[in-house]
Symmetry: C2
Subunit: 318 residues, 2 copies
């Protein structure tokens, strides 16, 4: 039997057929440009994509054991409902129920950050781990929490928002309306702000010429200059890593997981990012006497993370 993993994003929906070992046999995409304007649209688009995928792959629906959907926003996975999605206005969409009109396969849906964490546990860098967290550093700071091999969702599926832990009381304003959230310091958006501030102070810094060459300041600017030994960039990166560590220390002392995985484009910095993080996080460990330190590694499922995470959801939910 095979599984279908579907990754619903703001601009497109990706789908893939996988086997139980996480091999993607075929994948396909539809571009939506975010033009979901009613609950009809999104379920209809997902349905059309499933038909297209199976047709292209030459696999019959009867060979599919289950479908998993990873979706941004607030998801009630128990009822199979998109509670709401802030990017694209959408409320109370009964996706799994609606898909039953067209398909007999069991369909499961969950938040994309949760599904990504589960994917890493089933197929990726945390394979076989029972207790781990995936922290995705991007526009915001997302988190997926795996406890005892299962996704932790909280009431109404509204938990696992570790980006909105507070790390600096009365600190920087956050997009959520609060102040001092981890996301306001450790997201790539925050890193870009920190990089720009340092560039303004240090026009001689290598960061300025790198940004000029690339045509923009992005999450790589400071890391690239720091690797070349630029002093101002090293300061930016050191401070940014301390911000990331500050939140990981809190999560470590709460969960004492086996592993933290770092997701998002910045995870490509590899050990340059994870080695100092491991050192700082161990320094902040409450109970250093007992057991091994928490491992910190980059997430492993890059391009197919969404599809494989959703397929993992299908596999683990059956």
């Amino acid at each position: 039997m095979y599984y279908i993993g579907i990754d619903v994003g703001g601009m497109s929906i990706k789908a893939g057929v996988t086997d139980k070992n996480g091999n993607v046999l075929h994948k396909t995409t539809i571009v939506t440009k975010g033009e979901y304007n009613a609950q009809y649209t999104i379920s209809n688009d997902i349905h059309a994509l499933i038909v297209k995928l199976l047709d292209e792959a030459g696999i019959a629906e009867s060979e599919i054991a289950a479908v998993g959907i990873g979706q941004a926003g607030s998801i009630d996975s128990e009822r199979g409902v998109i509670n709401y999605w802030n990017n694209i206005p959408m409320k109370n969409v009964h996706v799994t129920q609606e898909l039953k009109a067209w398909h007999k396969m069991p369909v499961f849906i969950d938040n994309d950050a949760n599904v990504a964490a589960l994917g890493e546990c089933v197929f990726g860098a945390a394979k076989g781990m029972k207790n781990m967290l995936l922290v995705t550093l991007g526009t915001g700071v997302g988190s997926g929490i795996i406890i005892n091999g299962q996704i932790y969702r909280g009431e109404y599926g509204a938990g696992a928002e570790a980006g909105h832990m507070r790390i600096v009381m009365d600190g920087e304003p956050c997009t959520c309306g609060g102040r001092g959230c981890w996301e306001a310091y450790a997201s790539v958006s925050a890193l870009i702000r920190q990089t720009k501030a340092a560039m303004a102070k240090h026009p001689e810094s290598l960061m300025c010429s790198i940004a000029k060459d690339m045509g923009e300041v992005n999450g790589i600017t400071s890391f690239k200059a720091a690797r070349a030994g630029d002093k101002a960039a090293l300061e930016v990166v050191d401070k940014y890593i301390r911000y990331v560590a500050e939140g990981l220390i809190s999560l470590q002392n709460i969960f004492r997981p086996q592993m933290f995985l770092i997701g998002g484009g910045i995870s490509k910095e590899g050990e340059f990012l994870t080695a100092p993080l491991e050192k700082l996080v161990l320094e902040g460990m409450f109970d250093k006497e007992t057991g091994d330190p928490v491992k910190i590694r980059p997430a492993a499922l890059h391009n197919d993370a969404g599809i494989l995470g959703a397929a993992a959801l299908a596999i683990k939910s059956l």
Copy 2:
């Protein structure tokens, strides 16, 4: 069948026989003055206490379904081992194994904060709840985390140390060696420091005469003066409640539990403490669109909390 709950503290060990509904049929205590000097001592003391308890209660060992032990320190509940206890030097004590030499009843052991949280879920203020946290404000800030009706322990039982979340980056030094931990702001020890600082600044404050009458500055000083309308005391209490809220906001956005319970002597302040906490914590909720706010209530199992928590551990572990 009955259950035995045992509460091992620094100065004494308490034990009680309960029924499955949390009625304490009989209880007894031995004073140890913390004079456990070897693994022999603690298991021996617990054994002697069980014999004494059953003898006094007139209940045969065959009527006891299981024994639960709540114990401070780092506990490996799966193996039944006290990893270590910082108050009283103790390492790798195989308590449940050692008790098997004397008793045939199943014995379970867990950290006292975990056991207290479970007790509140089984018999107390969070009766029947599946997802909740008990935060105990005392000398430190302790936490017990209940997920899906079970204690969450983390690897090696070393998790659930929410007192060592960071709420102020590079902030106040903490007893753990870190800086800016929640415990360094929200413990009663921290409140006493905050009260003393305000008293030094405001010798006219009612706090000064209250402290004089009571012979000391304690966790009640500022609350008592604040209730009487003292301005400096109101400022201390407002700020302290903001510190407590800051950590609860982080825990709320991570766990989105049904309820937070506040334990420790300060929980006797009741709604004077919990009502402003609920307001602040709701303000800091990431996803306000979905579901009900998180309830915040004082813990309910006061004097018998240790015994009932340990009995709950016995009941839930069988």
